[in-house]
Point group: none
Chain length 130, copies 4
DNA sequence: GTGGTCTAGACCACA
DNA sequence: GTGGTCTAGACCACA
């Protein structure tokens, strides 16, 4: 599935959240798909069950999955109903971060957009191939 | 100069780092410019001297500023000598983050690129206006 | 374990760094070994937790240990991948220091080498005895 | 004469002390030689006069130079009358430092001794050539 | 006046 | 239980 990077500094529970969100965004998981149980994923990633539980709890709270005790978790909703201005605020913050980093790495705007478009295509291919 | 958001969840020292990196990226600071002393910035932002010192220490360690006891700190190097493959790795990670977020917020690729280009223009204007 | 000398003029955090580097060099710690937690070492040496944390942060930054929140710290890498010329530069500086000191103390070169070899043997004995 | 490295982290006054001690150890200065006045050296190195004054004060206090107001400073004594056990203590500390560093840089004992002997020869040549 | 070191102590996130 | 962040405040070395 995916690997946890213990050296990365990013909290383990956050890595799990990010990976599951990526799986949904790239089409690996579709609405209604079952995802691994907390026990299964904890065993596979060799992390504490509480850590996986925390990740699932947050994913549930933001509406991406539903966890039913005894059954497991399923992807429940890929639609987000946040207002446009809020969306713009969230994404602009990430965009500025990206631009600042690119500036310090001395990467040209043109090249940055190229890489962005490559990743967009890669993602939509993964979805198409499914 | 800028404000610290105590509610944001982002550590104060990290906000300081991000703001100074942004100031360099947007051309507000140029190589050789003096930045506020630790004491000055701490007083202005109303945070502890140690917190500013921590931010400056990290900025120094990654080569953006030089701090000399008894003198203060200056912007010392905006050129980064990281290898191309490494640059690509760093930026692709941030790009994927951005795309995942955009997907979940149901923002079209086209719109995302538009917003990115707006921010690019805004930054280069700030530089030009200097 | 070891003692902190509050009179020595050498900063406490630096003494901690030096002692742990010595422990690794003399074979007391091997790759993968757990070292005391920040809290434990602070209690034992009777210094502030922040001071130990600073020492550990620097040891981590130069790649000798890995610290993980909630877990503790382990020795992670005794191999240094610095280029030969760089190694020579670093050590020659220390060698010149040593020779200047020996000159002013009027210690003969022959005697200095003798003492050096004694220390080398002492260290390798500690490793062998492990 | 020599350069001050403002980036090195070593205090400026300490760099001056080290350089003058080196000059004596390597035979560049002999007993009775005049060294630059505080004003001259401060001008040449482009550092604060107080900083040079501090270095000279410490050199005088440990008996290496004599400063006479209005006249300047001369090298006055290269003989140190410290007891043997004290000498050994001072040098052993520096030797252990050197060995720990060499270990972490993965430099063999044999090679380290080779480099030490090279520096010894270099120094004695400088003296002979005088 | 400047940054560096250190303390005591509070509160938080994570495993 | 572990490390991380932050504060208020003291004292020191250096320029």
């Amino acid at each position: 599935m995916f690997k946890i990077d213990m050296q990365s500094g990013k909290p383990v529970f956050q890595q799990i959240i990010d990976e599951i969100r990526l799986s949904v965004a790239s089409g690996k998981y579709l609405e209604g798909d079952k995802i691994p149980t907390i026990r299964e994923l904890a065993a596979e990633l060799r992390v504490n069950r509480n850590t996986v539980a925390k990740a699932y709890r947050e994913l549930e709270q933001c509406g991406l999955i539903t966890t039913r005790p005894g059954i497991g978790s399923i992807i429940c909703d890929t639609a987000s109903h946040i207002r446009k201005t809020e969306k713009k605020r969230i994404l602009k913050e990430k965009i500025v971060d990206l631009l600042v980093e690119a500036y310090h790495l001395q990467v040209e705007n043109k090249e940055l957009i190229e890489w962005l478009e490559q990743e967009m295509e890669k993602m939509s291919n993964e979805k198409g191939g499914k």
